[in-house]
């Protein structure tokens, strides 16, 4: 039996970055907001403390903080002709759960998209001609320009206390920053982190090759910082336990540190943990989501929470699942190209790496932060001429360890056996004398890469799993192999004692090795209700009181870690709700 609760002004599904931001902005506007979080209440002071926060096995290997795949997962097939099988154990990507979501255990890379990323389809046609885009590459423009989003990027960076150096300050190009970025109105809130030995080697080598190195824009605060919510971040300790871990120094920006203490102190906000949203109650005739149904995961009891506004802020897969099961909008059909829910699922073209070894240099890889590398953007997006290359997009390229935790980080030169005396000798010799140069590439949408409902496998609530139809495509292989060549040039320019061969990308997408938790698309934003799920304010075309947050709204994935864009779009949408929608509830964009 479902227990129906008293209506609230707004309900937020998922209390991670976007849920926290929207709840905060809506309560500031006077609304009563209920936050539904499927996991438990996790706060740094209790959950992330020395010594247990430094437990490599528990957090990095046994995946303590991530979604429990015993209860919920997704299935994968490489093409619609295959039968999908469930991802039984997380590997390739690691969605979060509990209060703060993946925002509690990310690495802190905080980017803006390039201006050309914002209008990708238009930009490519303008530069390379109208026939340049292959027919099955279903890329689109983000219907919000860089200039429109700039103040919201700025706001999210100030929330997080991002450390970095501007490369384009109001149009003035600044050496040492990312000279390819769009103009920013303000410098980063904090100066860059202390440079590592690996980063210094990368800086010198890339300058010798004529590239433009800069330090990663990092939500690991380089200095003690107080944000506009009155929340204070500590200074980064370079502990080398960032990704997959919580931060005991409160230096890594997270919803838990940057915003939740203020939100939880507000009487207008009510947090309900162990509240897993099962379905949206959709009134198709009224074009409203009238309520959400959730299960108390402690008791199994079901509740219906009516709400005036519904903010869908779960991870990509649950956003798409809740839209599909409620029948909001038209499900994507890859054969006809019609429908948009589930369309343009994208990921990240990563895994390119070269390891360099220096017998006379002490790298100290264990002194590191999550976003601590030195990068170049010379081969990213459309920062270089793609004429004749046969692919679009590019990658950011980075050197600088994030950690030296030896269960996973113990590089040995090529040809070393994986075990035995020779392996031991090489491991002991090179552990402190090596690092990797890596890349993260764009992933442009493809007609046959999409999400729908699995016909066979179910989650613990009895709902179908999201089925991912996904593989790397021609554009991805060409891009990765081009970038691999750059990695090789960089490695050689470092003049190492030894180096591995730049990897060549081949074969099917694998769910086993970690690549990135940058799953995107499925509820894409666009200018046309026929080919997108939400409008430019992230409002559903088919239910005007439903707003969808997160990377599921991306039309395709740029090379950058998505959180900066996700945070900026959350503030952008919140602004539209509080300044326009509350005054006149209804569609904010008329089709």
């Amino acid at each position: 039996m479902t227990i129906t609760l008293k209506e609230t002004d707004a309900v937020v599904i998922g209390v991670g970055w976007t849920g926290s931001i929207l709840a905060r902005e809506l309560t500031k506007a006077g609304l009563h907001v209920v936050g539904l979080e499927r996991g438990s209440k996790r706060m740094p002071g209790e959950d992330f403390t020395i010594p247990s926060v430094r437990d490599d096995l528990k957090y990095a290997v046994r995946q303590e903080l991530f979604q429990d795949t015993q209860l919920e997962t997704v299935s994968l097939r490489h093409s619609p002709a295959e039968t999908a099988l469930p991802i039984r154990r997380l590997g390739s990507f690691l969605p979060g759960t509990d209060l703060g979501g993946a925002g509690a255990h990310w690495n802190g890379m905080t980017w803006r998209w390039l201006p050309s990323d914002h209008k990708l389809r238009t930009h490519i046609i303008e530069r390379y001609g109208k026939n340049a885009i292959p027919e099955d590459m279903t890329i689109e423009d983000l219907p919000v320009s860089y200039d429109e989003l700039e103040p919201y990027y700025d706001k999210f960076e100030k929330l997080c206390g991002v450390s970095g150096k501007a490369g384009n300050l109001r149009g003035k190009i600044v050496d040492g920053g990312n000279v390819f970025e769009g103009p920013r109105q303000n410098e980063y809130p904090n100066p860059p982190l202390a440079k590592s030995m690996a980063g210094t080697i990368m800086d010198e080598a890339s300058r010798r090759l004529g590239y433009h190195p800069f330090q990663a824009p990092s939500s690991n605060a380089s200095e003690v910082y107080t944000n506009f919510e009155g929340q204070t971040l500590g200074a980064c300790e370079y502990c080398g336990h960032c990704e997959r871990f919580g931060c005991e120094a409160n230096a890594k920006a997270s919803p838990n540190v940057c915003i939740l203490p203020a939100l939880l102190a507000d009487q207008k906000f009510e947090l309900r943990t162990h509240a897993q949203v099962k379905e949206l109650v959709y009134d198709k005739a009224a074009r409203k989501v009238t309520a959400v149904r959730y299960v108390d995961t402690r008791s199994g009891e079901e509740y219906e929470q009516p709400a005036g506004i519904v903010i869908l802020g779960a991870y990509v897969f649950n956003n798409v699942l809740l839209m599909l099961t409620a029948g909001i909008g038209e499900a994507y059909d890859y054969k006809t190209g019609k429908g948009a829910v589930g369309k343009n699922y994208c990921y990240q073209v990563s895994g390119n790496a070269v390891t360099v070894f220096f017998q006379d240099k002490e790298i100290n890889p264990f002194m590191a932060a999550g976003a601590h590398g030195v990068l170049i953007d010379d081969f990213n997006g459309d920062n270089f001429d793609h004429g004749g290359l046969g692919f679009f997009g590019g990658a950011w390229i980075q050197a600088g360890p994030t950690n030296g935790r030896p269960i996973a980080t113990r590089p040995v030169p090529p040809g070393t056996p994986r075990w035995g005396s020779d392996w031991k000798a090489a491991t002991a010799k090179w552990y402190n004398h090596a690092f990797s140069i890596g890349a993260s590439g764009c992933n442009y949408a493809h007609r046959e890469n999409f999400l729908d409902l699995d016909p066979t496998y179910r989650d613990a609530l009895g709902r179908p799993l999201i089925r991912m139809s996904y593989n790397f495509r021609d554009n991805d292989y060409k891009l990765a192999n081009y970038v691999g060549g750059v990695l090789g040039r960089l490695a050689k320019a470092m003049n190492p004692t030894n180096m591995s061969t730049p990897s060549v990308k081949k074969g099917d997408y694998s769910v086993v090795p970690y690549q990135s938790t940058h799953n995107t698309g499925g509820t894409m934003t666009g200018a046309d209700p026929k080919t997108s799920v939400v409008n430019r304010y992230l409002q559903s075309w088919d239910a005007d009181n439903l707003f969808v947050m997160g990377a599921s709204v991306f039309p395709q994935n740029a090379s950058y870690n998505p959180t900066g864009v996700v945070g900026a779009l959350a503030y952008w949408s919140a602004n539209a709700i509080t300044t326009q929608y509350l005054k006149s509830p209804g569609p904010l964009v008329h089709a």
Binding site: R62, P86, F366, K424
Partner: protein, 236 residues
């Protein structure tokens, strides 16, 4: 704290007790001859077992000592507690299939789709060790743990290459899981029973905890970090 100085002759004890598992393989005298020298020279794991059978434990000890042999850089895998670590991991949540989606149907799959067997890790290693010992007896006439060092190495190489024929799943898959779990035991914090005395961290120069390097990242730029490692227990 484990008592590393008391070698246990688990096999010998088994022989004396007439346990069926060991007795079926070879005459007790031959087994004694094979086992005694290595047991006397290499003190192994003295911790009581939570889930492993004596045969399984002997397998993990022999495997750990072949994957991580004793030398100037560190004691052997089992001397560092790798078999104890594995016993505890397989007895706990991980071994029981925590965070593993186990709904059927199960199907053979390409490796890119990841682990697709119905077995949890405890069951997987039970089946895998049985298959490894079956293969070892067919190939060498003995269980894996009773092989001489050179044969153990050759046997693990055959499994690594997928050339050892196992029933159920490939020997390569078994070897990869064995190597992964053994390395976890060697390098994880000592609270889990492996990496005794932080031997693996000392071997590579990993300083462990507390990992607060705000000053040290400048002070030790380009220099070797010379402080001895500390572990979770040192701060508890």
């Amino acid at each position: 704290m484990a008592d590393d100085n008391i070698p246990i002759r688990r096999r010998n004890f088994l022989m004396g007790a007439g346990t069926a598992v060991a007795a079926s393989v070879a005459p007790p005298v031959a087994a004694e001859a094979q086992t005694a020298p290595s047991a006397a020279n290499a003190p192994t794991d003295a911790e009581p077992l939570l889930t492993l059978t004596p045969t399984e434990h002997a397998f993990f000890v022999a495997a750990a000592d072949t994957l991580i042999p004793a030398d100037d850089l560190s004691p052997s895998g089992s001397q560092c507690g790798v078999a104890t670590f594995i016993d505890r991991q397989l007895a706990g949540a991980y071994g029981g299939g925590a965070r593993l989606y186990r709904d059927g149907p199960f199907a053979k799959a390409k490796p890119e789709l990841g682990y697709q067997l119905p077995l949890n890790p405890r069951e997987f290693f039970r089946a895998g060790i049985a298959a490894a010992n079956d293969w070892s007896r067919k190939t060498y006439g003995k269980d894996f743990d009773r092989l001489a060092d050179a044969d153990r190495e050759a046997a693990l190489k055959a499994m690594e290459a997928g050339k050892a024929e196992f029933s159920g799943f490939s020997s390569r898959m078994f070897f990869n899981a064995l190597l992964e779990l053994s390395m976890e035991g060697f390098f994880a914090d000592p609270i889990y029973g492996g990496n005794r005395d932080m031997a693996a961290w000392k071997m590579v120069g990993y300083p462990g905890l507390p990992a607060t390097y705000r000053e040290d990242i400048k002070k030790y730029f380009g220099k070797k970090y010379d402080k001895p490692p500390r572990s979770i227990a040192d701060f508890s």
